[in-house]
C-alpha cells in the first residue's frame, strides 16, 4: 500500500515540476497553459487584460484590440475575446472607428471578427467627417477590408441624420452604408 502511495505522490510531484517549468521558461507571467476537457475544443493559451497592435507591411498601425480575456483554441486556431474593444485605423484624415461588444469570436486567420451581443461602433468627428455612432448587435467585422455587417437591427446616429434598418453593411473606408430592410431615416434641419 505504502509503495503505491509513493508512486502516486511521485506522479503528482513530477507533474507539478513540468507545469512549473513551462510557466517560467517560455510563457510570460500572464500566459498560462490550461488543459480543458478533451471533449470540447481545448484552449491552447489564454491572455488576460491584453492589448494587441497590428501593423501592415509598411509598419503602419492598422488596428488595436484590447480585452479582459482572450482564449485561442487548439483544434481550429480560432479564438474568443471577452469585453473586446477594437480600433480600426483608416487612411488619414479619416478618424479611426472604435468597435466594442460583449464578447467576440476571432477566425483562425484573424480576418473575420464577430462582435457578439450588443455592439457599438463609433467614429469621432473631424474636418469633413461627421461623428457617427452605430448601435447594433452581432456585427461581423472584416478588419483588413474595413467592412462591417450585421443582419440585426442597426441604429445609425449623426448630428444631422438618424437611420434605422434591419440588416446593415458598412464600408468604413468609403463611408458608405447599405441598409438592407425597412430603412427609416430622419434628416434634421440645422
Amino acid at each position: 500500500m505504502k509503495k503505491r502511495r509513493g508512486l502516486f505522490l511521485g506522479v503528482i510531484l513530477g507533474l507539478a515540476l513540468v507545469v512549473w517549468q513551462l510557466q517560467t521558461q517560455e510563457q510570460p507571467a500572464q500566459l498560462l497553459l490550461l488543459e480543458r476537457d478533451a471533449d470540447t475544443d481545448p484552449v491552447e493559451f489564454f491572455l488576460t487584460q491584453f492589448h494587441s497592435w497590428v501593423m501592415d507591411e509598411q509598419g503602419q498601425l492598422v488596428r488595436e484590440i484590447t480585452g479582459t480575456r482572450l482564449e485561442q483554441y487548439q483544434t481550429e486556431g480560432d479564438g474568443s475575446i471577452w469585453n473586446p474593444i477594437m480600433v480600426l485605423y483608416g487612411e488619414e484624415p479619416a478618424p479611426a472607428w472604435t468597435v466594442q461588444s460583449e464578447t467576440a469570436w476571432v477566425s483562425p486567420e484573424g480576418d473575420e471578427i464577430l462582435m457578439q451581443g450588443a455592439a457599438t461602433m463609433r467614429r469621432p468627428g473631424a474636418e469633413g467627417f461627421e461623428p457617427v455612432t452605430v448601435n447594433s448587435s452581432e456585427v461581423t467585422v472584416f478588419p483588413d477590408l474595413q467592412q462591417a455587417t450585421t443582419r440585426q437591427h442597426a441604429h445609425i446616429i449623426t448630428p444631422t441624420r438618424e437611420t434605422q434598418s434591419i440588416g446593415m453593411s458598412a464600408d468604413l473606408s468609403k463611408d458608405t452604408l447599405d441598409m438592407d430592410e425597412r430603412a427609416r431615416t430622419i434628416y434634421v434641419p440645422q
Partner: protein, 146 residues
Amino acid sequence: QNQNQRQLPIYIESDSATLDDQTGLAVYRGNVVITQGDTVITGDTVKVFAPQRQIEWMTSEGQPATLLTLDEEGQETRANAEHMEYRLQEELAILTRHAVVWQGEDEIRGDRIEYFLNTEQMQVYGGPTGRFQGVFKPREEAEAAP
C-alpha cells in the same frame, strides 16, 4: 407651404437604402415615402442629395411618383409624374414625364410642370399636343357637384 414647414424634420421610409457620406448622396429603394410636415412624396426610387449634411434636392422616380401637399387653408394639391425633382431651399417641385397636378377639381397636364409650394404658383410647359392643357371647373359647378 408656410415658412416653418421647411424647418421640420424629413422622414424617409423605404425597403432598403444606400448612404454615401463622402458624396452626400443617399438612394432609397422600394415603397419610398418622404414626409415633411404636410408634404408627402412617394416613389420607387428616391435620391437625396445632402452634400453639407443638409438636403439640397431630391428626385423621386415611380410609376408614378406622387406628391401631396396642403396649402395654408388646408386645400390639397396632388401631383403625379414619373420623375419629380424637389428643391428644398426654393420649395420647388419640378414634374416631368406624364406630369399632372390636381387642385380641388382643377386638373393641369404638361410636359413639365414647375410648382412652387410656398407661393402655390405653377409654371406649365407644353403637353402631349405640345400645348398646355388645363381643366378648370367654375366654382359654382365645382361646389354644386356632388
